[in-house]
């Protein structure tokens, strides 16, 4: 293994296969080692940043809590013998502030990884759950479920199931559209906007015919923001994450290859069509669940993968987790700003992410004309 100094001080001197024979690495090989180190370092450091920022954001709010108290309150749950905090602090941290942060991290993480893999399989830098209308589909599924009546089928599974089916329907529509020759990435996004409007309109229409009870269901599920997140929700969300994340990670190599185009993918042994459908099914499930518990959160899924790509390049083994963590970071920071900027007024999460996301999206659209992103 290289020492730390070697990573940062290896001078690139090309064509030195002489030194190779002497058992030493050439300049370009050192540059490659350095690249791999930075890639790993980046993923680990944003994960560390997430933990640090969690501690900091917990301290924000009307009740004064120090960073040390924040971590103590969190750890006291698991090791009550070692950490002590006042009951009030513990209550505020565990019942009010921390759930919201965890909700933000989970939603941001899920949307980030979904955006990342969708961009890869559709070879479309503008793809994300929101821009392709998949969140709108899930939202529509919730409204339908509420109108049909959850009481008949009972419980959250019916609502999530319905949201999933509708999100999946949107995904398959997008795949079919992408398969048509000449469907450019801009056209896909235009279709996404159309789908967005269509489903939002129908959801609004359903509200007119909904009874009070049905309206309550609709707003409880999916119309909210991070405030709607509770520990009770987290378990199901966690289960779905634990299933979906490894599934997506296991496809890392295939995703790398798919960005080279379907022909190249096939010649290297990757069944492009199957992979695309598989990925869209898994992301539909994730997106549907997130929309059910936390509502529509725009643009995080678009921004996070691009930020990750800028730093660590195209290897999905690192890109997927990095997109997830960055998504979590972006969402939780945006939400913290929204909560505290003009306190006590709380700006809903979705509004904050759109304020950050829209200019970025416009920038990508402009840049897209040059057919190349982040170089």
């Amino acid at each position: 293994m290289m020492g730390y100094r070697a990573f940062f001080h290896g001078k690139p001197d090309a064509g030195s296969s002489r030194s190779k024979r002497a058992g030493k690495k050439s300049g370009i090989e050192l540059a490659h080692e350095r690249f791999k180190f930075i890639r790993l370092f980046f993923v680990l450091s944003i994960a560390a940043l997430l933990v640090l920022l969690t501690g900091f954001i917990i301290t924000l709010g009307p009740l004064n809590i120090s960073v040390a108290d924040a971590y103590s309150a969190l750890l006291a749950r698991f090791w009550p013998d070692y950490f002590h905090v006042e009951t009030l602090t513990s209550r505020v941290v565990w019942n009010i502030r921390f759930p919201r942060i965890v909700g933000g991290i989970m939603a941001g993480f899920g949307l980030g990884i979904c955006g990342c893999v969708m961009q890869a399989v559709l070879k479309n830098p503008l793809a994300s759950p929101f821009t392709l209308g998949i969140t709108a589909g899930a939202q529509f599924g919730i409204s339908i479920a509420a109108v049909i009546g959850v009481s008949i089928f009972g419980g959250p599974y019916f609502i999530i199931g319905n949201a999933f089916v509708c999100a999946l329907f949107c995904s398959l529509f997008i795949i079919a559209l992408a398969a048509i020759k000449g469907a450019t990435s801009e056209n896909l996004v235009l279709a996404g906007i159309a789908v967005n409007y269509f489903f939002t309109a129908i959801s609004q229409l359903l509200k007119y015919f909904a009874s009070d009870e049905q309206l309550r269901l609709m707003t409880n599920w999916g119309m909210g923001d991070l405030a709607a997140f509770s520990w009770a929700n987290s378990r199901l969300l966690l289960v779905i994450f634990v299933i979906c994340f490894p599934l997506l990670m296991s496809k890392s190599w295939d995703l790398n290859i798919m960005t080279a185009g379907d022909e190249a993918a096939k010649s290297i042994g990757v069944d492009a069509e199957k992979t695309r459908i598989f990925i869209m099914i898994v992301t539909s499930l994730l997106v549907a669940t997130i929309v059910c518990f936390m509502g529509t959160i725009a643009f995080v899924g678009l921004v996070a993968p691009h930020m990750a790509r800028m730093v660590i390049g195209g290897d999905h083994r690192f890109l997927i987790p990095a997109s997830g963590v960055l998504g979590g970071l972006v969402l939780m920071s945006a939400d913290a700003v929204g909560m505290n900027m003009i306190a006590p007024t709380i700006i809903p999460t979705g509004i904050m992410t759109s304020i950050v996301g829209v200019p970025f999206f416009m920038y990508l659209m402009m840049k897209g004309k040059r057919k190349e992103f982040w170089t």
Binding site: Q119, G261, G269, E372, W374
Partner: protein, 259 residues
Amino acid sequence: MMIKLQAKEIIFGYDSNPILENVNFEIAPSRLVTIVGPNGSGKSTLIKCIDRIVSPQGGSILIDRKDVTKMNRMDVARYLSYVPQSSVRIFPTNVFDTILMGRRPHIGWLGSEGDEEKVWEVLRLLNIERLAMSNFNELSGGQQQKVLIARALVQEAEVMLLDEPTSNLDIWHQLDVMNIIRDVVKKREITAIMALHDLNLASTYSDRIIMMKKGRIVAAGNPTSVITAENIASVYRVVAAVRSISDRPMIMPLRQIKG
């Protein structure tokens, strides 16, 4: 004669528009074979059929008597590698990672030092080591072509398919790439099948040449028997002078045959 690759009665068309009609050939192991023919004669399509990038509507392709059309894709990738004429990537990827993709049929999720070492070996073989960390999209057309060849080489397949691998290369690099492919064919005892427009290059390097016209094979055999003034007149509609230089026919196109 031992047979490595055999194509039987291949039929293919895009939307009922016939492109390949009853293509048959057999290729012995450790041979360099070129496919020549006018634009649109079906060379690229034939190569894609062999690699199952498109599925033939009829016929079969056998490697070591095993039918490629019945294998799963990952197995096909262990037998056959493919070098496209060019490739655009939407997202930036460095050359090293692009070539590493070729290891996919052999690699575990983590990847290994051994796989990376193979990439370095091929980079050195093609003399593009210094490009390893460059962005693929920012290379010149010729450099990109070498990277795509490198990706197919690390795939370590027994049959290598190349679609006009020299189309973007200057004459020095044309010879360079052809020499490398010829060496690989001899050393690793693999079979290379390439579509090529340059008849003189084909004549110089090929063990066998297949000449196509309108989706059919019109001549096949060693360079002397295929590269003849008559064949060139009937297939390309060009009058050409053919001379023999170090036992290989070399052509000089003189004029078009009109009408």
